[in-house]
């Protein structure tokens, strides 16, 4: 299965350079794990990073830097952290996302659960949002950027279907009311730079419950 909605190239450059951090990086990572085409682009951008690294004038190291490195490679390798397997039925995600799904899931409203993955910087928030089949997320807009990757199921936004692996970037020019398709429950990984702005009374009623 391969995704049909991809991030803008500039966002892929941000990923490759390392400028994209935190929750935004997790959402994009989830898309990349499902998207060979974007992984291919990332590999090329990383090759640019590698070439630029090669072209840098070497800095001066401490005089005992090599001796220290040679001593360090003799030390035993610390045990790898316990790996967290993927969740059945979801696309592969970063381990932090799996842990959040297992440990921090809470019902926010009938048919809706959230699990906070990470907070910050500032008012940014990264969370999992699980919505039951046929439910509709209230109309809202955004104060800053929002990035979404579908992990399971599908939702329809403005007649466009978003399926597992699909990536969406929404900003304050988007005023939408996504509906979740009835194929089953839908789980998304969401990064928001700032809390959502609900656009109608249903949304205002709904937001405190969900806490997003």
């Amino acid at each position: 299965m391969s995704a049909s909605h991809h991030p803008a190239e500039a966002l892929l450059v941000d990923y490759a350079s390392g400028a994209l951090r935190g929750g935004g990086r997790m959402v994009l990572s989830s898309h990349l794990m499902a998207c060979p085409a974007c992984r291919d682009s990332i590999a090329r951008f990383e090759a640019v990073g590698g070439a630029l690294l090669s072209a840098l004038p070497p800095a001066t190291l401490h005089k005992d830097a090599l001796a220290l490195a040679l001593a360090r490679i003799e030390r035993p390798v610390p045990p790898a952290p316990a790996t967290t397997g993927p969740i059945a039925g979801w696309i592969t995600t970063p381990a932090d996302v799996v842990r959040a799904a297992r440990d921090r899931r809470r019902w926010a409203a009938p048919g809706v659960w959230v699990a906070s993955v990470t907070r910050g910087p500032g008012r940014a928030s990264t969370y999992l949002l699980g919505v039951a089949a046929g439910m509709t997320v209230p109309r809202h807009t955004h104060r800053g950027a929002e990035m979404v990757c579908v992990l399971k199921g599908a939702y329809v936004d403005d007649d466009v279907r978003h399926a597992p692996g699909d990536f969406a970037f929404n900003d304050d020019s988007v005023d939408h009311r996504p509906g979740i398709t009835a194929e089953g429950d839908c789980v998304c990984l969401v990064f928001t730079e700032a809390p959502l702005v609900p656009r109608d009374w249903v949304g205002r009623l709904f937001q405190p419950l969900v806490g997003i």
Binding site: A8, E9, A10, L11, V13, D14, Y15, A16, S17, G18, A19, L20, R21, G22, R25, S29, L32, M33, P36, R39, D40, S41, I42, A43, R44, F45, E46, A47, V48, G49, G50, A51, L52, L53, S54, A55, L56, P57, P58, A59, T60, L61, H62, A65, L66, L68, A69, L70, R72, I73, V77, A80, P81, T83, P94, A95, D96, T118, G120
Partner: protein, 191 residues
């Protein structure tokens, strides 16, 4: 900025070979050669990104230590040594900046073993580096500038737009044009 100097020291194939020797037989001589070439450049890269000298030195150490430990996962037909080491340094830097403790870069999908592979062209990844630098040198200054800010100043494209006083769309299209040119350069017949 527009004409980065050609890489000095061992060529790409030699550097890849050093990592393979580490993977195959824990070759300390190969590690010494690799460290001597890359550690000063990784430190230089981190200093450019604004790291303090001590932190840059330590992260350069960590990067080469990770190279030693993960050498077996390096595939010379898919990435140049410089590209692989760049991603390790980048991931360590990101991990270090996370407040909630450190974790090794195990989640990085760009580390998944399926980069742009060209099975009939084992030296492809190595030749790419020279082509990229040559293509960079031919980029219009405004495109080279955004690439340089992205990779040498640690700036997301939104911040680059703010710093240069340009509309976001302009920065996005400059990045897109620059990457398209680099992509074409990579598709050209061998130099």
């Amino acid at each position: 900025m527009n004409t980065p100097p050609a890489p000095r020291g061992p060529d790409g194939a030699t550097l890849s070979g050093l990592i393979v020797r580490i993977a195959e037989r824990g070759d300390r001589e190969a590690f010494t050669a690799l460290f001597s070439h890359f550690a000063p450049r990784v430190k230089s890269y981190l200093l450019r990104l604004g790291a303090a000298p001590e932190a840059a030195e330590e992260l350069a150490q960590e990067t080469l230590l990770t190279v030693w430990r993960r050498a077996a996962s390096f595939d010379p037909s898919r990435a140049a040594a410089s590209t692989w080491i760049f991603t390790i340094a980048r991931n360590l830097r990101i991990d270090l900046s996370r407040r909630d403790g450190r974790s090794p870069p195990v989640d990085d999908p760009s580390m998944m073993n399926d980069g742009p592979s060209r099975p009939d062209d084992a030296l492809g990844a190595v030749e790419d580096e020279a082509r990229i630098l040559a293509a960079m040198a031919r980029l219009p200054a405004e495109q080279a500038q955004v690439i340089t800010l992205a990779f040498y100043a640690d700036k997301p494209h939104s911040e680059i737009a703010g710093d240069l006083g340009l509309p976001l769309g302009t920065v996005k299209s400059r990045l897109r044009l620059a990457m398209a040119r680099l992509r074409i350069a990579l598709a050209e017949p061998p130099l």
